[in-house]
Symmetry: C3
Subunit: 320 residues, 3 copies
């Protein structure tokens, strides 16, 4: 069972959250997860018909959804009927994970003691939280902060002024100066006067051989994780929002931005300053020209450019 | 009287700056302010006919302007006729506020003593200047710098690696890692070989319930202030230039950029990587699509997109 | 002879790198340089016909190139014929400069002792590497890192949280908070599973009177240097890639991005969020509108705008 290692979790039952609701089978909520990752003691959610096929396959014990969407759920998943799915989900998350809606900075950091990490080299004033793991032959630069429970593999080079939280990093990864990884994403329920912050209980997972250049920001996932695949290289000042999944062997040039929850295939190259809208699927071997604005799903092997991005041939035609 | 709390001010008279000029009534300059905020002992400026109606209402004691524009000033405001208004203004400011043209880093910082701030929690190595105020139940993360006279309200979460100067922050504000707030804006008189830096004597004012994500830069105002309204949420790597005024309940997505002196209404949402040119008025309830380049004023309730941005209907028509 | 002051260099002969190759005249490699900067004991490279005229004038002792391109080399330059020039160049560089392919953070930093720098003022926790030089009347803000051998002129203001490595800075330069200067650029030979990182042995050279605002990233050169000319002003969050050369008296607004190896003339102004593609020549006195995407060389005195950028007249025509 993969427990959430980064956030304190309260032991609460379905009934203690949804007090007016009569459950056939009350249970202590193990975790809150996406439809396909949920097990029988997990709570999930369904807020759009787009995910009806995932809904049909969920093993979740309970699912926050609307009356209309509840028909897509299997018999073993109890539907919790609400009018605003994301609002009720946010409220539930705040009860189960009370510290995940704001990036409360880790107040239990200590200047690293080199004895605790044999075969790891450190610069000055490296601040480390509880239970941080760092593999052999890794190097951590000065003024870098690794908050509690962060895991870093072997042969990694983490530069100076980097801040990492809620993140698991593989082997042979390079992270250049001043990157900020694992902070809460831009998620909230807009309410005039006082928005409700959406708790982010996901993490960032960075695979082996990844290189991330200076000044990038990578937000952790909200319910799911933000992931970066093997051997993907990311240039300076790239912004990667919550839940984005980038495949292997990708090349992402400077100042590219990814909105939340998009999925990028393998071997994708993206030119500088391009923007990828939220909730898109970009296939494998796609090439996206610099400055493009991608607003639709893109099939495998396409070469696209423009704002909004179109096949390169069409872009060139239009501009001549 | 609202004194400028952030910059050392010299006591100088009009005549000591403008030596060749015969004033009807010389006075010690209290402050340099925009037309409508000036009182009788303040110096103001008028460099474009665009502000003629503000000029008519000014209560300033004196105004740097051109011969042509001087006709718009009321009788009680003495016109100081020059050929280059901004150049003379910059020179005057440098005399009155000798330390505002460069971000001289605060050299009187000390590692915070927790005793001095009861009910505030601090990470490691928090550096604090003189006379900093922080309200109760606020948290400040490690390696963060709060320069002298900065004010932070209660229930705020200021994360790690943040640098704040010349700024006043309300209650319940969240600022994520590595934000840089209150530095001098991009203002200077271009001269080949050695530009003249325009002193920035304004500040940044951030209202209650604002959330600012990682890696944002918010420049302080030049003469006026840079302001961010209540409950406005700003995503990662957003750039906000000097004098920009953003209203309440706005949603600003990642990597958006605001050029100087633009005014944004309330309930405005702006998609990722959009750019707002300088000196524009964007109305209330405006929605601006991701990647847009806004170069004109926008009325209330418009939905716009494109580069340059046009009403969404026109944008979609053109692209099909 | 201008030795490379920033990277440890191994003493190796041509033959020890290219073992299967029979040289007329073997020699210890002094340095690896661009075609026109190489002398008789230097190794250079030619990977495109675009540089055939530079190739004809090179004084390099040896040149990695293809059979086809080798005809452009002078008699005194020995051609090392390979199929993939950049791959063999990267491998050679890794042998000669074993520490230049990753930004290994400087692990020999110390908190600055003010005695060592008379007439320089420091904030708290300034970390300095070996052999750093700082001119008189300069100021360095808190938490800033100056890695070994960095040179800073007199009357400079380096703000807080700045990280500088592999860089030479002139006099009267201002660098605002959190800039990251001199890190490795985004260069590698893409190989699925494990890219080969291209060693960056160049530096960053910043001339007198330059101002660089908060959060900028300036990568060092790969073989050549990244340079910024006199009195050029750069706004927040600008990204300057490896080998870019920016002239004097330029104005670069916020969030502009430069891809690698482009050359920008003097007196060029670039609006916010514009992007300049790689390997371009932008002339003198060029004005580039905000949000533009420049993909072609631009002659002197042009005013351009759009994506892709075209002369302003054409841009306005198209949009009306």
């Amino acid at each position: 069972m993969s427990l959430n290692i980064f956030f304190e979790k309260e032991k609460v039952t379905l009934n203690s959250i949804f007090k007016n609701y009569k459950f056939k089978k009350n249970f202590i909520i193990n975790d809150v997860k996406p439809l396909l990752k949920s097990k029988k003691n997990d709570l999930t959610f369904l807020d759009t018909v787009k995910y009806k096929s995932e809904a049909a396959k969920t093993q979740a014990g309970a699912c926050i959804t609307t009356e209309k969407l509840s028909v897509y759920l299997p018999k073993n998943t109890e539907a919790i009927i609400v009018s605003n799915v994301l609002l009720e989900l946010a409220k539930s998350l705040k009860i189960i994970y009370p510290n995940a809606d704001i990036d409360y900075p880790d107040l239990n950091l200590k200047i690293v003691k080199k004895d605790n990490f044999s075969k790891v080299k450190f610069g000055n004033n490296v601040l480390i939280g509880k239970n941080v793991k760092i593999g052999k032959n890794s190097i951590v630069g000065s003024n870098t902060i690794l908050e509690s429970n962060v895991q870093i593999g072997s042969d990694c080079t983490i530069n100076s002024g980097v801040i990492i939280k809620n993140t698991i990093i593989g082997n042979n990864v390079v992270i250049q100066d001043n990157c900020k990884i694992g902070q809460k994403g831009f998620g909230f329920i807009p309410i005039k006067g006082k928005n409700i912050k959406f708790p982010h209980i996901g993490k960032v997972i960075i695979s082996d051989n990844v290189e991330i250049a200076s000044g990038c920001t990578i937000d952790r996932g909200s319910i799911d994780d933000t992931t970066i695949g093997d051997n993907t290289y990311i240039d300076n000042q790239v912004h990667i929002a919550h839940n984005v999944k980038i495949g292997s062997n990708c090349m992402i040039a400077g100042q590219v931005g990814f909105a939340g929850s998009s999925q990028i295939g393998n071997n994708v190259s993206i030119g500088g300053q391009a923007g990828i809208s939220g909730h898109l699927n970009i296939g494998n071997n796609v090439k996206i020209g610099g400055g493009s604005g991608v607003v639709k799903n893109i099939q495998d092997n396409q070469i696209i450019m423009g704002y909004p991005a179109v096949p390169l041939k069409d872009f060139l035609k239009k501009k001549v």
